[in-house]
């Protein structure tokens, strides 16, 4: 068995730091901005804080929401369920936030979709006051945990026990922080050169968008368990 224990000091390659497991918690804030028509949605999108766009794409992973099997962001879901415009809903639903370099790029793509749809419609859909789109923002608090991963082979034991907040922080939020939009796991494995290429490929294949955090944790655990079985 080539597994090293956590008891002794680990010799790292020069410059490689251990993986410090962190956690985060999100708290939602009302912005007071409410849209009743597609045009209002589009206009608010132009000026709303980027944190609100972030929240409406990713925040659903960390807040009470019955999983909508069809629409994975709030804008698409609202167009479908409150405006009854399935075309707009479908176009918004396929927007994958992980594909955008910045939230401003994402904002621009959303506005383009809505502008196009507004041009197509003779009468703009509207909804009742009690089904308005509520623009919500969020504060995120990031904090340390006691867990430290000293070497990649430990990932398969540690990841299944991580909180969903840790999964969010290292696998989703990391894409906003790291160069090339990498998650923290791949970013760390990359520092070992090409040693963990298969593992990185397995992680890269996990789609963070069309799922929930519990499934993401399971998927990551499976990749680490499988690829670290006999070493790399």
């Amino acid at each position: 068995m080539n597994k090293k224990t956590k008891t002794g000091p680990v010799q790292f390659k020069r410059g490689i730091q251990p993986f410090m497991v962190r956690d985060c918690a999100l708290i939602a804030l009302a912005t007071g901005k409410r849209a009743r028509t597609m045009k209002e949605l589009r206009d608010y999108l132009e000026t709303i804080a980027p944190e609100s766009i972030y929240y409406h794409f990713w925040g659903s992973l960390l807040r009470p929401r019955f999983e909508d099997p069809e629409y994975h962001n709030d804008f698409a879901s609202w167009c479908a369920h409150s405006l009854n415009d399935q075309v707009a809903a479908e176009r918004l639903a396929v927007v994958d936030p992980a594909q955008f370099q910045s939230l401003e790029d994402l904002r621009s793509a959303l506005i383009d979709i809505l502008d196009e749809r507004i041009d197509e419609l003779d009468v703009l859909p509207t909804t009742n006051q009690d089904k308005q789109f509520e623009f919500i923002s969020s504060d995120i608090v990031v904090f340390a945990t006691k867990r430290i991963i000293n070497e990649p082979s430990e990932l398969k034991q540690v990841v299944p026990g991580l909180s969903l907040g840790s999964i969010f922080y290292h696998f989703i939020d990391a894409r906003r922080r790291n160069p090339d939009s990498l998650d923290d796991f791949r970013s760390w494995l990359l520092s070992f050169g090409s040693s963990y290429q298969n593992t990185m490929l397995g992680v890269a294949e996990i789609d963070p968008y069309f799922t929930n955090l519990t499934t993401l944790r399971t998927n990551l655990s499976e990749v680490f368990s499988k690829s670290m079985q006999g070493g790399v």
Binding site: R22, D23, A25, L26, I27, A28, L29, A30, G32, A49, E51, R63, P64, R65, F66, D130, Q132, E134, I136, S137, S138, D139, I140, V141, V142, F143, A144, T145, K146, G161, L162, S163, L164, G165, S166
Partner: protein, 416 residues
């Protein structure tokens, strides 16, 4: 050594408990005070009864103070409550003076505690005037509104707004309830506790005994609505729905069970209206239960075939959460926080009228398999979203956010 918080692990998983312990670490030693207007009855008191010891268990020095008032004060604050939910109410200057004087007397009594606190949570309108009355405040003050204030009576809100606008932050259960205020407005739904008498698993024998006590037949379908006798809960509408469904399901039974809260003077009046509407229908059981009858309510909810909460206005609807936790599908009024919980075809059905409720009662009782499937989904939805552990995580996140200046991203390690 196992702590109080660790006893929740079987319901939430170890990862949730570990996260709470980690999140609490930077808050250790903080002095937090909650103030509301009743120790017994109502969702707020129930949450605080559990949250205070749990927060202390995590090392956050948390206490709970209760405002004391006379019947005039509670009559007024009930009018505030109804007004915030949109009722047309006329409030005399005399009653407003009672409100201000009661707040002044209580603020005086609690002055030292409140001045020294690092964080103060003021729950609902009753003690909202405290902020203006306590000078030299050390900590952050948060107004926690549990009411559906989406369309408040403008006069009532204009008056209360003057009292709450200078708080450091406010908290509403849903974005739709939030009114514009010149400070951060956080959104935190309430929660239930799986370990309380109200929600803990019960032996079948205990449930049977409760049914026997109230002459309820365990073999026939049972609808249960548990809530204060309050017009916004529409108990008379539930009786109408029952009346419409009964000819098609002759064995149908209905329980309307309510407890009094010490800050609700209207309850007796509404109870009389409900009894009059039920007349002498022997399958309608109107039960006036003491505020501590938690196990009885638990048993009734567990015995239910369908839980009803046909509210016309609802802050959140914790009785919906309780029913769902017990694997019951819910027929709920299409309002407030019930919408966040009752998802059509998944955890129950939203309805807008007694006729709608009657139609859903009839169709749901025809499909036992679907009822069970909905019940399982309902419990899982509550497990992930509406248990007290999630509520605590959000309160702690809110406190950290406020203490660190309410920035969008707060990295606690960078501040060291």
């Amino acid at each position: 050594m196992s702590s109080l918080i660790e006893s929740y692990a079987p319901y939430t998983g170890d990862d949730v408990i570990n996260q709470l312990q980690e999140l609490a670490r930077p808050l250790k030693g903080l002095r937090v005070v909650h103030v509301n207007s009743t120790k017994e009855g109502g969702g707020v008191a129930e949450i605080l009864h559990r949250m205070i010891p749990l927060m202390n268990d995590l090392g956050i020095d948390t206490s709970w103070e209760v405002l004391e008032g006379n019947p005039d004060f509670y009559q007024l604050t009930k009018m505030f409550h109804n007004g915030m939910q949109g009722d047309q109410v006329q409030i005399s200057d005399k009653l407003l003076k009672v409100y201000e004087e009661t707040n002044r007397q209580n603020a005086e009594r609690l002055r030292d505690t409140l001045q020294q606190a690092d964080v103060v949570f003021i729950h609902d309108p009753q003690p909202a005037a405290f902020l203006k009355l306590i000078d030299d405040r050390k900590g952050k003050w948060i107004w926690r509104c549990h009411i559906d204030a989406s369309k408040p009576n403008r006069q009532v809100w204009k008056y209360l707004r003057e009292h709450v606008k200078n708080y450091d932050a406010s908290v509403f259960s849903l974005a739709a309830f939030a009114q514009p205020l010149p400070h951060p407005i956080y959104l935190i739904p309430p929660s239930i506790d799986p370990l309380t008498d109200k929600n803990i698993e019960l032996e079948e024998h205990e449930i049977r005994l409760v049914l026997e006590r109230f002459n309820i037949d365990p073999e026939r379908p049972l609808l249960v609505q548990v809530s204060r006798f309050d017009r916004f809960k529409d108990p008379v509408g539930v009786i109408q729905a029952f009346g419409l469904a009964k000819p098609f399901i002759p064995g149908l039974q209905l329980v309307l069970a309510g407890g009094g809260a010490s800050d609700d003077p209207e309850g007796q009046l509404v109870l009389e209206e409900v009894r009059a509407a039920a007349m002498d229908e022997s399958d309608i059981h109107v039960l006036e239960l003491p505020s501590d009858a938690h196990r009885t309510i638990n048993a009734l909810q567990r015995a239910a075939t369908i839980v009803i909460q046909k509210s016309l206005k609802e802050g959140f609807g914790l009785t919906v959460t309780e029913g769902m936790w017990k694997r019951k599908p819910v027929i709920g009024g299409n309002t407030g926080g019930i919408r966040l919980q009752v998802i059509n075809h998944h955890t129950g059905f939203l309805v807008n009228s007694p006729s709608g409720a009657a139609m859903r009662i009839r169709s749901m009782l025809k499909n036992q398999e679907k009822l069970s499937e909905m019940g399982v989904k309902a419990q899982e939805f509550v497990r992930e979203n509406f248990l007290i552990t999630r509520h605590m995580r959000e309160y702690m996140t809110l406190m950290l956010s406020l203490v660190h200046g309410s920035k969008h991203r707060i990295d606690l390690n960078k501040n060291k």
